[in-house]
């Protein structure tokens, strides 16, 4: 198929999709309306479970089983990326040298690193109270570690990032979520049921299993992002083909 013909087929498809979509939209409830049956019920259930952040309550209590699936998607895609980005035949690992970093960048980076780390841990720990949770906080924590790569160099990052340990933590976070679900069964209820005491509304210990599941997800997301970035950085900085070319070397 020539490029021109392909463009025509594409245009026809896009126009037809657009027409059907607009037709479907005219039948949707009006934007901003007050009719949200699921939302109202979810909010009521969240307040009943003493979880101030209704989104966390939906994610880690009412729909906790779906979040297990989501976590597993994350886990398996990290696994897939690790397999894809391994050192293959005809490639070698080189140690990247120390890099020159402007003094201002170094100062600012080292200043911001602990603050970012603390914010990340705060966002994970307060997932049941304020916007945030394990997914968001995990990404912030993982980002804070990589500020060391920007402020100093790759060697410094490697020192605070024992990859084996983070790979282990990735699996541990996933396992912890599954085992916390099983705790519901042991307590005589359903899998992933919120069986812990619900605590006082709007305190750190409220929400029953929500903060625990948040912590498990936080550990997993932190290590998943660290492991992912480690493999991409490894490809960019460490792995090169035997003849020294950065890429496309297998052809030569």
């Amino acid at each position: 198929m020539t490029r021109r013909l392909r463009l025509w087929v594409l245009t026809a498809g896009l126009l037809a999709t657009a027409a059907l979509y607009v037709a479907a939209c005219t039948d949707l409830p009006a934007f901003g309306g007050s009719w949200h049956p699921y939302g109202d019920r979810a909010v009521r259930a969240a307040l009943q479970q003493h979880t101030a952040n209704a989104v966390s309550s939906v994610n880690f209590d009412q729909r906790a089983f779906d979040t297990l699936g989501e976590e597993t998607v994350l886990f398996s895609s990290v696994l897939g990326t690790v397999v894809l980005l391994r050192r293959t035949r005809g490639e070698k690992r080189v140690a990247p040298g120390p890099a020159e970093v402007p003094a201002a960048l170094r100062r600012y980076g080292l200043l911001v690193l602990p603050v970012t780390l603390l914010i990340g841990l705060y966002v994970i720990a307060h997932g049941q109270l304020s916007p945030g949770g394990g997914f968001q906080g995990g990404v912030v924590v993982a980002t804070s570690l990589h500020l060391l790569y920007i402020a100093v160099d790759y060697k410094a990052l490697e020192r605070i990032r024992p990859l084996g340990l983070f790979e282990l933590a990735d699996g541990t976070g996933e396992a912890a979520y599954i085992l916390l679900g099983a705790a519901g069964l042991i307590a005589g209820s359903a899998y992933l049921a919120n069986t812990l005491p619900l605590g006082t509304f709007n305190t750190l210990s409220s929400g029953g299993t929500v903060p625990l599941l948040n912590a498990a997800v936080g550990v997993e997301v932190t290590s998943a992002v660290v492991v992912l970035l480690a493999h991409f950085l490894g490809q960019a900085l460490e792995i090169e083909s035997e003849d020294g070319a950065k890429d496309g070397g297998r052809e030569a």
């Binding site: 896009l14 894809l84 992912l228």
Partner: protein, 114 residues
């Protein structure tokens, strides 16, 4: 016009699909996929919006305050996570494709290679 937010979601989707189909660079195609996916965030949040309402977080709100739909927000979170992981996986594939074939133009990747 109360349809506009829904139509914007559709527009973002179509722009993303157009980008993927006409892409001449796999990294660009992965970026376009991310754009396509972000249309679903717009749609989900538009569906959950309620006029005059605030975020569904009750730590500093009276419990009867009008809030937007938390269910679609939770779905959007799932969406973001899956989107990010899919992007990572696809970029890993692009890295290996570039190494093996020496190109990231999808039109030049027509033949099989061992």
């Amino acid at each position: 016009m109360s349809l506009l937010p829904y139509l914007i979601a559709g527009w973002v989707f179509l722009v993303g699909v157009h980008g993927i189909a006409t892409s001449r660079n796999l990294i660009h195609a992965v970026g376009c996929l991310a754009v396509t996916q972000s249309s679903t965030y717009v749609l989900l949040l538009a569906v959950g919006y309620r006029k005059g309402a605030t975020a569904p977080v009750f730590s500093d709100l009276p419990v009867d305050a009008p809030v937007v739909d938390p269910v679609v927000q939770a779905l959007a979170l799932t969406d973001v996570v899956v989107g990010a992981t899919v992007t990572a996986l696809l970029l890993a594939l692009v890295v290996q494709t570039a190494k093996r074939h020496g190109t990231v133009d999808p039109d030049e990747l027509s033949e099989l290679k061992g």
